[in-house]
């Protein structure tokens, strides 16, 4: 059945996913014969890891776009500030005092322009998209690590988080019981 492909990126994603699944299905029988017992997990894992990597392609593209925009914003601000500095310092004579004046002009100009940039909505939005995409990529990396940890019989991030949550809840309960006990002790003493 044909599926409408929005653009080239979707086409490559679809093709990669298709062959990833196909290869996994086609190789499942021979892989089962050769990878005996728990080693069967490894063949399963390869499919899951490939899926994560294919899914991350769009995020890598997005990340690069936002990163380029980030450097572009910084670069343009730098160039503008430098131009302003150059137009100011042409009148300054060359001596020790003027070196100090040049440094002051340079720092003030750059400080002012960069603070203005960091204050803009476009910087904030792009920066946060950049961080968010980075987090999404990190999440994929965590998932890949979890797959590998699971196959090595090690606790995954999700399982560790569950333990932390359990410990946190237990600690809270113990503290509550402790304070209740203290209150009762005080009441019985009085």
């Amino acid at each position: 059945m044909e599926r409408p492909l929005d653009n080239m990126f979707d086409y490559y994603k679809h093709t990669s996913m298709f062959w990833n699944d196909m290869i996994s299905m086609m190789s499942s029988k021979p892989a089962s014969l050769t990878a005996v017992g728990p080693l069967r997990n490894f063949t399963e894992n390869i499919k899951k890891i490939s899926q994560e990597l294919i899914e991350s392609n769009q995020e890598i593209v997005d990340f690069n776009t936002y990163l380029m925009e980030y450097y572009k914003q910084l670069g343009e601000t730098w160039a503008d500030s430098q131009k302003k500095v150059m137009s100011k310092i042409s009148e300054i004579p060359q001596d020790t005092e003027s070196t100090e004046a040049y440094k002051r002009i340079w720092i003030d100009m750059f400080e002012n322009d960069f603070t203005q940039l960091f204050d803009t909505e476009s910087f904030s939005k792009n920066y946060n998209k950049l961080v968010s995409t980075e987090m999404q990529l990190l999440k994929r990396w965590n998932t890949i690590m979890d797959i590998m940890l699971k196959s090595a019989n090690m606790p995954t991030k999700e399982e560790i988080d569950e333990i932390y949550q359990e410990l946190f809840n237990l600690k809270k309960r113990v503290k509550k019981l402790d304070s209740l006990k203290k209150r009762r002790d005080v009441e019985s003493d009085s």
Binding site: Q94, D95, T96, T99, K103, W106, I107, F110, E111, F114, T115, F118, D119, T120, E121, F123, S124, K125, Y127, N128, V131, S132, M135, Q136, L138, K139, N142, D161, Y164, Q165, L167, F168, K171, K172, K175
Partner: protein
């Protein structure tokens, strides 16, 4: 045709001196992380999980009875209050006869990522204040909060007004929508849910990034140029290293607390709109009826005055004081200016309202 360029001799001299200083620096000054930070002596009188409460040893024989508990910010460490004996906030208070306690929030581990406002305010801060009351034989304390610690102190005073005799809020973060700093500009569009889900605690590296966009050229370049030019000045070098060490010791922020902070204060601005709930309790700033002293700095590039000042107008107290100082965020608590202009007013204010 020959091109002739002349360079002033003193510029070459300065350049050579600068290079000589860089080459000789390791043999002249101590390793930054070995620099001793505190100047006043203290005992650790209470510990709970990662937090510690420090009780400073008195410097005067006559003391006022009401102790002062300082709730430091959750960013950086408390050392800045006592980093230099001549600029020490703590020493000044002790010399004025005030009994001072400091809460050190410690360094949260990955296990602490579920800690939020509820645990910080209703458990840690409350237990610390209970402990101080037991030790001092009083029912109420004076509570000072600095920066994010100021927000915690304000929230605590709203939820437990019966335990707070006086509230001192120094550059507190109250009205996130009015904050004009670059930090708030970043925070407004920040996907904090995703960050906490993936990373857990807010890592110090991200906090360093936020610091780096505040005065990037003054703090990132000029400061170090000045340092290399002043290597002969022992006092300057010593103070510089202490501040650098303090800046480098930024602990992570518990994920849940950070999430509540960004969403509740910067994005939804719940506290000042009377919509904040902590542990199912409504936080109303109108419940703050004790005397309140709000301190803000005009040159504060971390928490703008517009963000802190609304506390003064939102509290229910009749006895309230708002002071605006011509200094910066750190200058307000660790400078010659604060010793001369801020602390005398504050100590007088505390003394007249304490037992």
């Amino acid at each position: 045709m020959t091109l002739e360029t002349s360079v002033n001799e003193s510029i070459i001299g300065d350049f050579l001196n600068f290079n000589r200083n860089i080459a000789e620096i390791p043999s002249r000054i101590s390793v930054p992380h070995e620099v001793k930070m505190d100047t006043c002596e203290y005992d650790v009188v209470y510990k709970e999980d990662r937090i510690r409460m420090l009780h400073y040893k008195p410097l005067t024989s006559k003391q006022i009875k009401t102790p002062l508990v300082i709730s430091y910010a959750i960013v950086n460490r408390y050392h800045i209050f006592d980093i230099d004996s001549k600029k020490s906030w703590i020493r000044n208070l002790l010399e004025s006869g005030i009994d001072v306690y400091m809460i050190d929030w410690g360094t949260p581990s990955k296990m602490d990522k579920f800690l939020g406002f509820d645990e910080y305010v209703n458990d840690y801060l409350d237990n610390c204040i209970e402990n101080v009351c037991d030790r001092s034989g009083v029912n109420k304390v004076s509570l000072q909060g600095y920066c994010t610690g100021g927000t915690l102190a304000a929230v605590y005073s709203a939820l437990h007004p019966e335990k707070v005799k006086n509230l001192i809020a120094t550059a507190p973060i109250i009205d996130g929508w009015k904050d004009t700093t670059v930090i708030s500009n970043i925070a407004k569009n920040f996907d904090v849910d995703k960050m906490v889900e993936v990373i857990g605690n807010m890592p110090p590296e991200f906090i360093y990034y936020c610091f780096s966009i505040l005065k990037p050229f003054e703090q990132g370049i000029e400061k170090y140029l000045k340092f290399f030019q002043n290597l002969e000045n022992e006092k300057y070098v010593n103070s510089f290293l202490k501040i650098e060490k303090w800046l480098a010791e930024t602990p992570p922020i518990p994920g849940e607390l950070f999430k509540q902070w960004i969403k509740g204060i910067y994005q939804e601005n719940l506290l000042v709109q009377d919509k904040m709930f902590i542990g199912n309790q409504h936080v109303s700033l109108k419940n703050i009826t004790m005397p309140v002293f709000t301190q803000v700095a005009v040159g504060d590039h971390l928490v703008s005055p517009e963000c802190s000042m609304p506390l003064h107008y939102a509290v229910g107290s009749n006895d309230k004081n708002l002071e605006i100082y011509p200094t910066g965020h750190v200058g307000m608590i660790a400078s010659s200016y604060s010793q001369k202009n801020i602390l005398p007013t504050l100590t007088k204010w505390i003394k007249t309202r304490s037992d």
